[in-house]
């Protein structure tokens, strides 16, 4: 009797172990999003994350509800009036533009352009950067050398000049691109911004590659793709997320710069484009401050919020970073 009960005792978990196992099981059952929830909460507990998160929530709601919230459709013929560059009034909360249209409506719609281009461009650059970084670290050798060289090249291209050139040239073909000139902006800002990401991902992937559990999977016969999907990407995700959230802020700044330079989407309202119109319409000299203050303030707030949230995530991954920043 006692001999047969020995192995059974070895298989019995203590209460503590059972609790831990249960926790892991429920966490796994919750899926990736469920597992992210506690992390999101802890990012929000960081003062920077909380402030940034609240600002982003507000602007997110603004972008989604803009067409409903906007008092008028700036494209409708009825929106044009003879009240040009007026100050704030009960009818026009933020005054009017050089065509007598409501500034507030354009400001609300402008949040869509910034959010869309910022998020989509950051997504493009993150996907390219992560793919290049992982391929570089995982396959090593000639692949690593070639990709690192490509990375060196792209890292040096000055973003604004190259984006100006590409957006101006590709602008001719905007009609054949999905989303028109907005699509061009997304592509340009996304494609020329991945070099920093790939460098960070490569370094982290190299260190993950040498971990025992990754080697173990390889030895047990898992394919490259399987190990990359199951071991590397989940572990790289927080770092990639922090990095891409910070890139959103740069992408939004770049989008507004290009729009200010007249390379924005003529069919879409954007804050940079509004500032360009305000400036060329002489809003600065005529004192129409409700025309040029709010768009700039919105850009600054959204950019600030994305970088705050990004740094809060970064801080959660590596608390030492927060000490120094």
């Amino acid at each position: 009797m006692s001999e047969s009960s020995e192995p059974r005792q070895l298989l019995t978990f203590t209460e503590e172990q059972r609790a831990t196992a249960q926790k892991i099981l429920t966490a796994n059952r919750r899926g990736p999003i469920g597992r992210m929830a506690p992390a999101t909460l802890s990012v929000m507990r960081d003062a920077r994350g909380a402030i940034g998160g609240i600002i982003l929530l507000l602007f997110g709601v603004m972008a989604l509800l803009a067409p409903i919230l906007a008092p008028q459709d700036p494209n409708a013929a009825s929106s044009f009036s003879s009240e040009i560059l007026t100050g704030p009034s009960a009818h026009y909360w933020l005054g009017t533009d050089e065509n007598g249209r409501d500034v507030l409506s354009q400001l609300l719609l402008g949040s869509q352009a910034s959010m869309l281009v910022g998020l989509a461009a950051a997504f493009v650059s993150t996907v390219i950067g992560t793919a290049v970084g992982i391929a570089s670290a995982w396959f090593g050798g000639a692949m690593d050398r070639a990709l690192s060289m490509l990375d060196d090249w792209f890292l040096v291209l000055p973003l604004i000049p190259v984006a100006v050139l590409a957006a101006a040239l590709l602008g001719n073909r905007a009609s054949s691109v999905p989303l028109g000139q907005t699509g061009v902006l997304i592509a340009v800002i996304g494609v020329f911004g991945w070099a920093g990401t790939s460098r960070i991902v490569r370094a982290e992937a190299l260190s993950l590659k040498s971990r025992a559990y990754v080697e173990r999977s390889r030895v047990l016969g898992a394919s490259h793709l399987r190990v990359i999907r199951q071991q590397l990407i989940p572990n790289l995700l927080p770092l990639v997320l922090a990095n891409s959230v910070i890139y959103v802020s740069l992408a939004i700044l770049t989008e507004s710069t290009l729009s200010f330079l007249g390379l924005g989407d003529p069919n879409r309202y954007s804050w940079g484009g509004m500032l360009e119109s305000a400036q060329s319409a002489g809003a600065l000299t005529s004192g129409a401050w409700t025309y040029f203050l709010p768009p700039g303030l919105c850009i600054a707030l959204v950019v600030l919020a994305f970088s705050l949230v990004g740094h809060a995530i970064e801080h959660r991954i590596d608390p030492r970073l927060g000490e120094q920043k």
Binding site: M149, D152, W153, V156, L157, P158, L159, I160, P161, V162, V164, L165, A166, A168, L169, L170, N172, R173, S249, L253, S256, T257, F260, L261, G262, L263, G272, L275, Q279, L284, T285, G287, W289, F292, P295, G296, I299, A300, L301, V303, L304, S307, L308, E323, Q324, K325
Partner: protein
């Protein structure tokens, strides 16, 4: 050895930029059609260019012509003014270098100074205030900052001119001319400096915080050296090293910022030239501008590496 590798990388990057410039141009349009769009070129002149650049031949031959022309300093002619692109660039460059140069110098003096004091008082009110305002400043688009300055210092308190490099129609020479330009340069330079400042001060702060954790700083404090001496002689030197790299690598951003600032202030440099090129769909000029800014960034990177290895004896050997 290390330097040789860096030079090789710089060379290959320049070659990449050259190829990129060629293929981007070819990918979006046919240069022959672009030539036909140029109203200032006669049919005969167009044919001469097609012949000279081999535009009716294969891509490969065009590419060879393009590389040979570029290396010999021929970047084609502007569609709008019909002047050689190189001349346009040479005319515009000094004005940009003036404001970009002064702004870079100012920002690399003030930014690290702020960072040094913020890092020294880490965690105190002074630090929080300086660091948070740097973070906010960093989020503000440079051109909007310029607009605010125009309203504040040229509209509300009319002290400074808001556009162009000189008074319209000014024929002043010598000293009066220099004063005129300086007055016009104040706002563009201030805008660019503020745009750069934030990043340098944040970088310097984190660099100072790292440097302060070193044992020799603790020793210096234990000995009882005056804080001023510790800051100047022991922290500043070490903390400045990483910031030098950032300042050097930042030139790309400075040029980018210069485009919008020049556009805003109608300052006659490469930024205003870029605007004109965009508006006139002047592709040869745009390409030349891009080549110029990339080449400057690459050169600055090499220069930064050289300076860095001079400053840090650990790398020199």
């Amino acid at each position: 050895m290390n330097m040789l590798k860096k030079l090789l990388t710089a060379g290959s990057t320049l070659a990449f930029v050259l190829c990129f410039n060629f293929f981007l141009f070819r990918a979006v349009g046919d240069p022959k059609q672009d030539l036909a769009r140029n109203p200032k070129l006669s049919k005969a002149a167009q044919d001469a260019i097609i012949e000279q650049r081999g535009l009716d031949q294969s891509q490969w031959i065009q590419f060879k012509h393009y590389v040979a022309d570029t290396l010999s300093g021929d970047l084609g002619r502007s569609f709008v003014t019909n002047r050689p692109v190189v001349e346009e660039l040479i005319d515009a460059l000094p004005d940009t270098l003036l404001i970009v140069g002064v702004a870079t110098v100012l920002a690399s003096l003030i930014g690290p100074w702020i960072g040094l004091h913020a890092g020294w008082k880490r965690g105190r009110t002074q630090d929080t205030l300086l660091t948070q305002s740097s973070v906010v400043l960093y989020a503000i688009p440079v051109f909007w900052l310029g607009m605010l300055l125009i309203v504040a210092f040229a509209q509300a308190i009319p002290l400074l001119p808001t556009g162009h490099a000189t008074e319209p129609g000014s024929t002043a020479k010598g000293m009066a001319h220099a004063v005129d330009i300086a007055k016009h340069a104040v706002l563009p330079i201030t805008t660019l400096t503020l745009g750069l400042l934030a990043q340098y001060s944040v970088n310097m702060r984190s660099s100072v915080v790292t440097a302060m954790q070193e044992d020799h700083i603790l020793t210096a404090r234990a000995i009882g050296l005056p804080p001023r001496t510790i800051r100047r002689r022991h922290i500043l030197r070490n903390a400045l090293l990483p910031v030098v790299t950032v300042i050097g690598l930042n030139l790309g951003f400075v040029l980018g910022g210069a485009i919008t600032v020049e556009a805003l202030f109608s300052w006659p440099g490469i930024g205003t030239l870029t605007m004109q090129a965009i508006q006139g769909k002047d592709y040869p000029l745009l390409q030349g501008l891009f080549l110029l800014s990339s080449a400057m960034v690459i050169l600055m990177n090499v220069a930064t590496d050289l300076i860095y290895s001079r400053l840090d004896p650990r790398i020199r050997n």
